[in-house]
């Protein structure tokens, strides 16, 4: 990097947003609003540049920084390490870039808490960057809580909106409870190993098979992460929070915060536990939970009419796919998920912003009430393009991630998983496509009124000062940037051989536990690795992408133009679907019960599985 040494970039990625947040907080009292907007967006852009440079450096080998200068002696240290590899540095860069887009969109976002809003978004960014880059389990907890505290406040920020408060509260209670369970897991691990660094704990657990203590500590330690990742049945908070948060905040939450949960799960398993907790058990358990998450997300997504909840459930369905990709536990699986996350972030972020634009114009995000009102301007075509991208259309970003994950599943001996990927892409992409065709082009039949027993109403106040009559250029620019990012993740990586090889190396570095331990604890050089599986488009990948896009079109067409008779027959499915909808009750007590049940299920599965599964 020209001006900043590589090792300084990681702490600066945390420090810069914090200082900028303080400046925004203090400056908002006297400086004009545009100055605060400029300061915040600029700080996010600087952070994106720093983390981008860090990512580039990390492709040449992990960038390891011991804070406070407490470098290890004989593999032991009292300090906290920041260890950047392409995956987590890339996530920090993604978080910074999304924040930049979200803040750009917010130039017209009016709120009586201006200044406070900017400071919170920047602190949220500091939390995400710290969480991604740190190599210390307790430090992960601290930054997890920082992400949490700021995200809770941002979710409830529109205090005149009852939904927003209830969503914020559910989010806060469930995530905090999960974080405390994680801390108990950390306590158990500390009792066993007397260490807090990921590498140190990993080394201390060594190659001995895990006993009950280690398995339970693993499950408890990751409860916070999988809850943040919205793995079913810990997913209930997500739709409530994402549906009510300000649109630019949804970009960050759906685009990268939730995915950081999957990242942390993968990081902690690979670095700390993979030599102790049997891979076969983890693979079976997380494929099962991933399929469950994907299924719940799909059904809830396709039966939604509240646009933001529809996108939120589509995020849950995709999280199921990310969990499956992680559960393969192979380098090319990690590569696939990383590319998928990058593509998904841009596309899903753009969709949330488009929903925000609709809200600002029509004071509702209900698909029925918006019927045919969206018009045929740029938002229309961006929305439909995003829907196709979500469905896996080659050569766009999500499609490449999906294709790579399918290939990885095939290579891991689980080719049937490709069907899950195609199905989820088709259903979620089809649902979004259907909503877009209905809202913008007025296709299909009209919807009846909202059934308040099982559905959330879509009327809300606009987020801008007055309802918009046309789309402001800064808002549209943010959407276009996000869509371009999502497209580029597929086109650039999948078609440029050098980038494809680099992406493959990212997954390989991530999976290299011995390399991580050696470099972090003993400062060894990065290990030479075999040539990676390049993350490029293959014939089968393109074919599967085309198939899922066609299926998505079929899903959309069916739900728009299903003949009346068939619709009546389809109502027989209603009790089951309504039952699932009723489980998503918005009641915080219910969510607590499900959280515990999910954690218990995971613990008992992992305690029971090693005996059953070979290896």
């Amino acid at each position: 990097m020209p001006w900043v040494p590589d090792t300084a970039a990681a702490p600066l990625a945390v420090a810069v947003p914090i200082v900028a947040a303080c400046l925004a907080l203090v400056g908002a009292r006297w400086a004009p609003r545009p100055l605060i907007d400029l300061l915040a967006t600029g700080a996010a852009a600087v952070t994106a540049w720093l983390t981008g440079a860090l990512t580039l450096a990390a492709f040449g080998g992990r960038v390891v920084t011991w804070t406070g200068g407490w470098s290890p002696r004989d593999g032991r240290s009292v300090g906290i390490v920041l260890a950047a590899d392409p995956v987590n540095a890339g996530l920090a860069c993604l978080a910074s870039a999304l924040t930049c887009c979200a803040l750009l969109y917010s130039w017209r976002y009016v709120d009586s808490a201006a200044g406070h809003y900017h400071a919170l978004v920047l602190l949220f960014l500091a939390g995400m960057n710290g969480f991604a880059l740190t190599g210390d389990l307790f430090d992960m907890f601290v930054f997890f809580e920082l992400m949490g505290a700021t995200a809770f406040a941002l979710t409830g920020l529109r205090v005149e909106e009852p939904n927003s408060l209830q969503g914020g509260l559910n989010f806060a209670v469930i995530n905090s409870l999960a974080a405390y369970l994680s801390l108990i897991g950390l306590g158990l691990l500390y009792a066993r190993t007397g260490q807090l660094g990921l590498a140190q704990i990993g080394a201390a657990l060594g190659g001995r098979p895990a006993d009950a203590l280690v398995v339970v500590a693993f499950v408890l330690a990751i409860v916070g992460f999988v809850t943040k990742a919205a793995m079913a049945p810990m997913h209930f908070w997500l739709a409530d929070a994402h549906a009510v948060a300000p649109a630019p905040v949804c970009v960050l939450m759906s685009g990268v915060m939730v995915e950081l949960g999957v990242y942390a799960l993968a990081r902690v398993y690979v670095t700390v536990f993979s030599a102790a907790v049997p891979a076969a058990a983890v693979r079976e358990a997380f494929i099962a939970f991933g399929v469950l998450t994907a299924a719940v997300g799909c059904v809830m997504c396709v039966t939604q009419r509240h646009l933001k909840r529809l996108f939120a459930y589509s995020t849950i369905a995709h999280i199921g796919l990310f969990l499956i990709g992680f559960a393969l536990l192979t380098p090319d699986g990690f590569t696939g998920v990383a590319v998928y996350v990058a593509g998904h972030a841009g596309i899903k972020g753009a969709l949330f912003l488009l929903a925000g634009l609709l809200l600002d114009r029509f004071q509702t995000v209900d698909e029925g009430e918006l019927f045919g009102r969206g018009g045929r301007g740029a938002p229309c075509w961006l929305f439909l393009l995003a829907a196709l991208a979500l469905a896996g259309l080659p050569p766009l970003g999500p499609g490449l991630g999906k294709a790579l994950s399918e290939d990885a599943a095939g290579a891991a001996g689980l080719p049937w998983l490709a069907a899950v990927f195609v199905l989820v892409s088709a259903v979620t992409g089809g649902a979004v496509l259907r909503a877009g065709l209905r809202v913008f082009l007025g296709l299909g039949h009209r919807l009846g009124p909202v059934e308040r027993d099982t559905q959330t109403a879509g009327e809300e106040r606009p987020e801008t000062e007055t309802a918009l009559t046309r789309t402001p250029p800064t808002m549209l620019a943010a959407v276009v940037l996000l869509v371009l990012g999502g497209v580029a993740a597929g086109v650039a990586v999948g078609l440029v051989p050098a980038l494809a090889a680099a992406a493959g190396r990212a997954g390989q570095t991530f999976a290299d536990r011995a390399g991580y331990l050696g470099q972090v604890l003993y400062g060894g050089p990065p290990r030479p690795a075999p040539p990676p599986v390049a993350a490029r488009w293959t014939g089968s990948g393109v074919l599967s992408g085309v198939v899922s896009t066609v299926l998505a079109g079929a899903v959309a067409a069916l739900s728009l133009w299903l003949p009346r008779g068939a619709r009546v027959r389809a109502r027989r499915l209603r009790p089951a679907v309504d039952g699932l909808h009723r489980l998503h009750s918005g009641h915080v007590g219910d969510y607590v019960a499900w959280l515990l049940a999910g954690a218990a299920g995971l613990a008992l599965a992992l305690l029971a599985l090693p005996a059953a599964a070979p290896g």
Partner: protein, 250 residues
């Protein structure tokens, strides 16, 4: 779900977790054992950096990044609570009524206690690297001490001592100062939050390098943060009236 169904799901989950936890306890080292590898390293490191209070050394030197994160959480919550409790719509501040109704003797006692508490708070902050206590504890004492004025029934004098905007400034400035110390370490010592000040001699007030500096910074952050937080709740409980306007009664 109905209350009963919720309880069933909860009990199943809790029972499963309890069983797993009991299994796990079988592998725990016995309570009070003598094997603490990190402790051995941390104590040695604290002595190397001439910090008699090892907890302070861990918080402000060895694992200072955790504390930066924690201060940032405090900052975020203060901003968040202020944003969540801001006045919106037709909420108004009620015209002030007389303060509390404590007997005069107690009120006077609270008044007299105030300077004592503030002194104790400052002392706890300043000696954080030497004796138990430090920025967190002292900061909380300072903030709580200030609110003795509320107990004393002098909400108005509390408000005079509490220009909230300045406390928010203080909160932001403390967080910036913490980052500043970190950046100074990066510039002078080559790594973020490195302890680059002279270490001094053992058990002296001016020793342990950046530890007392960060203690003071955190003391400011915690004191100002706690004051702003409490102020939001006091305002809500005492002075804000929503909906109907000034004619409403309490």
């Amino acid at each position: 779900m109905s209350g009963r169904a919720r309880l069933v799901v909860f009990v199943l989950g809790a029972a499963g977790l309890a069983v797993a936890f009991v299994f796990a306890l079988g592998g725990m080292p016995p309570f009070g054992g003598s094997e603490h590898p990190y402790r051995d390293l941390a104590v040695a490191a604290a002595l190397r950096h001439v910090t008699p209070n090892v907890v302070s050394s861990v918080n402000f030197d060895q694992r200072a990044l955790d504390t930066l994160g924690e201060e940032t959480i405090l900052l975020g919550s203060v901003i968040g609570a202020a944003a969540l409790l801001r006045l919106v719509g037709h909420e108004k501040e009620r015209p002030e009524r007389a303060g509390g109704r404590l007997p005069d003797a107690i009120g006077l006692g609270c008044y007299l206690l105030l300077p004592v508490t503030l002194l104790i708070g400052l002392d706890v902050v300043a000696h954080g690297h030497l004796t138990p206590g430090g920025g967190f504890q002292g900061g909380v004492v300072l903030a709580t001490g200030l609110h003795l004025l509320y107990l004393a029934g002098r909400y108005r004098s509390l408000e005079r001592l509490r220009p909230l905007a300045w406390y928010e400034f203080g909160e932001g400035a403390s967080a910036t100062a913490f980052v500043g110390v970190g950046l100074a370490g990066l510039a002078a010592g080559g790594s973020f939050l490195a302890n680059v000040l002279p270490l001094g001699s053992f058990r002296e007030l001016l020793s342990a390098g950046t530890v007392p500096v960060l203690n003071i910074v955190v003391g400011c952050a915690v004191a100002t943060g706690a004051v702003v937080l409490l102020a939001q709740f006091l305002e809500q409980a005492i002075r804000i009236t929503g909906g109907a306007g000034p004619g409403s009664s309490g």
